[in-house]
Symmetry: C2
Subunit: 95 residues, 2 copies
Amino acid sequence: MTAQEAETAARMFKALGDPVRLRLFSAVASHEGGEACVCDISDVGVSQPTVSHHLKKLKEAGLLTSERRGTWVYYRVEPSVLAAMGKLLTTADAA
Amino acid sequence: MTAQEAETAARMFKALGDPVRLRLFSAVASHEGGEACVCDISDVGVSQPTVSHHLKKLKEAGLLTSERRGTWVYYRVEPSVLAAMGKLLTTADAA
DNA sequence: CGTCTATGTTGACATATGTCGAACCAAGTG
DNA sequence: CACTTGGTTCGACATATGTCAACATAGACG
């Protein structure tokens, strides 16, 4: 595993390395239709700006995408990235 | 996913959220016999104390175990934890 | 247009993190 | 016992991170 590969992969793991982000991510992933409005998942125990901040981080890490539809903003998971991380874990030998 | 579950899982993701740790972890996992002496994996571009520091973090996160055999200290991966993280990723919906 | 609701952005601040050099411990060797 | 090699711990420091309150923006709706 090269330094650059590690850098890229570490960004994704790091994004999930915060309890609030992990819960937000899980909430989006488990929500009906694979997407969730912010208002549906923002009861994680922190203030609303903090939720927004974490969602932005997850988006920057490439784990989520967002789309505004009218009043609400919907987040959905990026499936390919999920698969890549899982593979990296189960076949760490080959990495 | 409860706050406590998230806290526990996030610790593991966080541990892999640093490029140096990810490389160390990958190096141990991919090493012959599933274990590696520190001297075998310490060429990741940081000083040796830093390597030791990161290995300690990985150990605290439950991802690695260490054992001293004579002069050298050997690290090996904790397979169960790996499986748990992989499962958490691929079935984020059920989490 | 004005205003209300839903999100995002900014600024500030306390704490955590990654890094190193120096000092320290552990085992082997003379 | 002194010396060397492998590894950890300590102390310090710069930077990153998580958090909030305050402010800003985007649509909806009258």
